[in-house]
Amino acid sequence: MQQTQLGSLDNYRKGNIEVIKGKASHYAMSNVFEVASHAAPYEKVVVGKNLKYVIETLRAQGVSPWFCASHDEFAVALDGEIDVHFIKPSDGALVAENVEGTVKLEGEPSGQKMGFVRLRRGHQALLPAGAAYRFEARKTGVLLVQTILGSASVEKWADICIQ
């Protein structure tokens, strides 16, 4: 049996585009491990964009700020070991219903601790609407976040895409 090839921060092999007609940039192709390896910890770099919806890749290293969104978001760990801690806010909604995307919070919000989930490679967690959450990497890794373009999103397409 051929071994299953999974990428990591330390071991990835970026693919390529053989253009026949058009431009390589039409495909906005990058590699999430490469992008995360050049990013600051928990910088939410957009690697996929479909109108307002985005996929972000994050270098999970150390402890992140607290985040929250008015809608469900999802995180998939592709490398490392990462805890996600949750707080149920006690002073009403942290993010207005009409604000989309991830909002970075100033400090730890007041509220009830909900617990945490521990993710390793290939694990997916629900980041439920309205709950505050924070990542704590037990082992440096890479996260994907499915969300909507927001104030914490970072776009740097020219730096990350094959052209």
Binding site: Y12, I17, I148
Partner: protein, 331 residues
Amino acid sequence: MDHAAFLQSVVATDPDANTGYRTFKLGDFEFSRDAYFVTVKWPAQGQTRSHQMHADDFLRAMMRDVAWGFFYGWVNFDEVLGTRNHYGKVDMYAGAYNASFREAGVDYTQQFETPIIMATFKAILKDWVNEGFDPFAAPEETGSAFGAKHGDNIAAIDRTRIATKRMPGLEGDSPLRDDFPVNRQFADVSQDEPEIHAEPGFEGQLHAFSLFKYLSRSDVTWNPSVTSVCKQSLFCPTTEEFVLPVFHGNDRVEWFLQLSDQIIWDVADKDTGEPRARITMNAGDIAAMPADIRHKGYSQKRSMLLVWENATPDLPKRYESGELPPYPVAL
């Protein structure tokens, strides 16, 4: 019409005395098969035109079209035959997206109410898929599609895309796959689960699962299922082996994120089929499929692919009108 009426709308002959297969009519199209080939006929310029496909290729393509509910946009069975989804109605075409057929004026398109074409396609699969052949499986995992009619495989062809409201494993949502065996090519994929440590009173409110374990237990290839829903943003991962049985034409931008191994994509012009690019994607690579292309993938080992779709209504019209550019990012 109700479901029974749609079934009654299927037009088919009695089984052929030699091959055992029925011949089907869908509007002006005629579909027949023999031991090795499927033949499709249509009218053009006062004549009858015809096209042949290997029976296994045809059945794999038609199976995806049925399972995906005609999917987003165009499902090209090959360079001649295919369907276009208008979400409520579906075009069946021959040569309409092939530059040579169009130029010669021998292409043909006919539109059907979705339940009518779906009932006919299902009837074809029911009659033409023999015992031992699974059109969802990789070639190494299934028997032959060829020969005279022998039995059927209803259980195999009744599988569809799994619909998820929020995330698999949540109460009232789609199930996990813990009861499915690990696929032979993912025997080395870790089956460990995330740890959930909920504080008292929050049990059931924190949720996580192993996406890689879930994918390693998929019993189908090239059949995306939804695993997370962020408003109209759908993560639809799937496992791929051998070749995508269709050339999928995009009516919107979709994205691929290669989760494991490698897929090579042939990309061509949506309307003419002219080649545009060949993209090699390894684990961690992410790329857009623009709204004006068709694509077909090749996966020499079973791999995990995250297909990312935007299900926002009216996108096909907005792309077709030029309101939205076909490329997702201006560089």
